[in-house]
């Protein structure tokens, strides 16, 4: 009652501020808070958006490289036709004539009337006669029975089917004429032109500038593989040895300081400068062969060493001193303590760092441009292991660059396809590194 009488005595003053109603200033501050948070969220979303765009454009533009347009014909060659064709002066021409007849028959059987000549077939298929002749000369038992041939179509057929070459934009040339498009349409509706998986892209070698359809990345994968062998064989032992010295033995003096400053600076030197080093020292000065995976491997080794040294030192540091003390306590020398106890315990971390360093080296392009790995047309696999190191070859990123720099737009598709393969390699390496880290990581 007392309370009530008191409150009734003095009329309640209108409060300036209620906890339930926000004043203008608080509203402003809260809005600012919300805005700030939204900025952060937007930034993350923009970053992820770019990642998605990148992934989508790689996949959308790269996947067509893995398929190719093929002309799928069932072809029967009788014994008599074979001997007759082999007896002619232009043997492959004779085979071509037979093929054309067969295609005409197939089209007529489906009720499609298209006029075409040998020239049209050559524009679509290149020179199919040679392939046919080779097959029958090698497999004479196939004579008389139907054989299904998948003949690679020219890149412009590909372009027409994917929309790169349109009927309106097409100008008659020796590569393709407007009448050929009718033939292509007919062949497509007769299921003779289909798409098939392009093994040649994965296993084959680079083709010349005039044949985008035949270009493959296989030879440069081999080149990259030999380069990575060099990098692994040199950078792992050298990197581990250097880290062991710096982490376990080095006294605090000027020489050690100099090495440490050098390593941290080398880690930040632009990769192209390593290319200049490779060109000046390995090629001009030592006369090692240009474009050889050996030279590429040496340059990339120098580039990866700082990465490997930094990660190896971190994993050596994470081995607790009690391990060393225990080893020293039972009479091991310092060297024995390090090599028998510390190093094995640090090995998972070292391997993880090495794999990540290798993955970086695998994707590096700029230094390879300078040692001549670009523009070199790797037309085949190296013959033998030693030749793999010393003979000119290309590497995956250099090959991609070569394709991207060519004038013919149909090579761009190959470049994207090459990127898919490169990224698959990188992804695999990184996943292995993550698994290694998860399985063997030890918390002390």
């Amino acid at each position: 009652m007392y309370d009530a009488s008191l409150s009734s005595g003095a009329a309640p003053k209108p409060r300036g501020k209620s906890l339930l109603v926000q004043d203008a200033r608080t509203r402003k501050r809260n809005a600012a808070e919300k805005r700030f948070r939204a900025y952060g969220m937007t930034a993350i979303l923009i970053g992820l958006f770019f990642l998605v765009v990148l992934a989508v454009s790689i996949i959308r533009s790269g996947v067509p490289a893995f398929t190719q347009t093929v002309v799928d014909v069932e072809f029967t060659l009788t014994e008599e036709q074979y001997t007759a064709a082999e007896g002619e002066l232009f043997k492959t021409k004779a085979y071509e004539g037979l093929l054309i007849e067969q295609i005409r028959d197939t089209l007529e059987a489906r009720g499609l009337e298209v006029a075409f000549d040998a020239g049209a077939i050559e524009r679509l298929l290149g020179k199919p006669g040679g392939t046919l002749r080779e097959h029958y000369r090698a497999n004479e038992q196939d004579l008389g029975s139907p054989v299904s041939f998948k003949l690679a179509a020219a890149s412009r057929v590909d372009g027409y089917l994917t929309g790169r070459v349109t009927r309106e934009a097409l100008q008659d040339s020796r590569f393709m004429q407007a009448s050929d498009l009718d033939l292509i349409d007919a062949l497509v509706s007769a299921d003779i032109i289909t798409r098939a998986f392009n093994w040649n892209f994965i296993t084959g070698a680079d083709s010349g500038v005039d044949n985008p359809g035949g270009a493959g990345i296989g030879a440069s994968v081999i080149g990259s593989f030999f380069m990575m062998l060099v990098v692994l064989a040199l950078s792992l032992p050298i990197g581990v040895a250097a880290s062991i010295y710096l982490e376990e033995f080095a006294p605090q003096n000027r020489f050690t300081d100099l090495i440490e400053v050098n390593i941290s600076n080398l880690a930040a030197v632009p990769s192209i400068v390593f290319g200049i080093l490779g060109l000046a020292v390995f090629i001009q000065f030592m006369h090692l062969p240009q474009s050889a995976p050996l030279v590429g491997g040496l340059v990339l080794t120098l580039m990866t060493l700082p990465t490997i040294i930094i990660s190896t030192r971190a994993s050596l540091k994470s081995v607790p001193p009690s391990i060393r003390d225990a080893a020293l306590g039972v009479g091991a020398s310092k060297m024995q303590a390090v090599f028998h106890h510390v190093l094995p315990l640090a090995m998972p971390g070292i391997l993880t760092g090495t794999i990540i360093g290798l993955a970086q080296a695998l994707g590096e392009t700029a230094p390879l441009l300078l040692i001549g790995m670009v523009g070199f047309v790797a037309r085949g696999y190296p013959d033998g292991v030693l030749a793999g190191f010393t003979e000119p070859n290309s590497a995956m990123p250099a090959q991609i660059y070569t394709w991207a720099a060519r004038a013919d737009a149909s090579f761009y598709e190959k470049a994207w396809g090459g990127i898919i393969i490169l990224l698959i390699f990188l992804l695999t390496m990184n996943i292995i590194a993550i698994i290694l880290r998860r399985r063997f990581e030890r918390r002390w």
């Binding site: 501050r29 970053g47 990148l54 030197v269 632009p270 990769s271 030592m286 060297m335 990127i419």
Partner: protein, 490 residues
Amino acid sequence: MPILWLFLIVSGIAIAGYYLGLARVMRSAGGDRRHMHSLPSYYGGNVAIKAAVPALLLMLVWLLVQPMIVNNSVSALIPDSAIADASSRGLVLSEVRRAADGMDRALAQGTMDASMANDPQADPDDVTSRLQDAGAIVTSQITQPVLNAAQSYRMQNQRGNQFMSGVVIVLALLGALWGLRGAQADFRARNVVESAVKMLLIGAASIAILTTLGIVLSLVFNTIEFFRLYPASDFFFGTNWAPSFSGRGGSSDLGVLPLLWGTFYISLVALAVAIPIGLFAAVYLSEYASNSVRSVAKPLLEVLAGIPTIVYGLFALLTVGPLLVSVFGRDGLGIMQAGTAVITAGLVMGVMLIPFVSSLSDDIINAVPQAMRDGSYGLGATKSETIRQVILPAALPGIVGAILLAASRAIGETMIVVLGAGAAARLSLNPFDAMTTVTAKIVSQLTGDADFASPEALVAFALGMTLFVITLALNVFALYIVRKYREQYD
């Protein structure tokens, strides 16, 4: 492959020495290892190290030095008159090397016999046709001086290789004997082996110094050579970049300013993209995001840093460029001529740099002590006010360091600008113009069949030197800032 064989022989000697050493020390200790100073394997290792290390080192040095000596003596054989006007000594020498390799090939295939390969009076035309039969790549007709030089080149290399094999094997055997003499029970093998291993470790660590030395020397010597042919003041202050393509014409304008401007402009655009996005992402990740969001978003953003730059280059050339042209080009606003432009390269490079800025800044923001946040909240500040007025100022030196590192990365970036920025060197303010950078010009001047003695090729080394100095200065400055202000809040 004689070098491989030599390597295998030396390794064989070392392995044999290892077991001989073991056997000998066992005999000397009377078959009881308790009488030895060290474990038996150290005695074996002592022999193996003494056999292999000096021999292999000698082989390495020999392989480096021999080509230089041979090249010099062969170069002296070629009279000036044998060098055509359009050619140079370097080109003739590589022709000599090709001819010599071709002779080896022809000998192996039997299209040429040994007496002909060594006969100085041999008919050059005949030799050329035989080499071409053997599939050797000889660009043109071999002349008499080239033939003689090639023969002398082969001869010297052969003799050198034979001599090297002999000396290396003898050295390996001597080393093994020296080690075997020490295989006595009271010899302190462990100490000797361990100090040798330590020397190897020091050698491995010194490779970092050697690499830096190699970079600096190869840049400095070639840059000096360049400045002898082309005045330094014209290089540093020239505003026109127009190398002549005729090969050895003296009419090139090689001013670095347009290239530097292109480099800085593109880097500026890239940083303008990367800094806001990266910083806000870092702030959000470290201050707002829940653990689950953080554990997904952070690795995903870092994927952007792991993608090879060639992928970004292609992305700029084939995706971003055409997209920008369709908006700003002739069909759109009409201010962009082609897909390759400053804005294209800058934008893509900015995307690449986002994780550099965000990851480093994230670590730095996390390192700001929690007490500072709590103090600010206690005074009634909101989260964003705390971040803006307390955390960011505290983390500023680190963030500046991160940005400087990103800038140095942007300046040294090659593939994106080679593919995305165009090739025209110009001083312009329009971001929709094509411009070029220092790195892109290093690539274009050093690829192809350039003659390394011409100023047009040597300029690339001067450009490399400029690039090296700028990035080094940025890195050192960044590290200095980070180190100087790092401990302030600990």
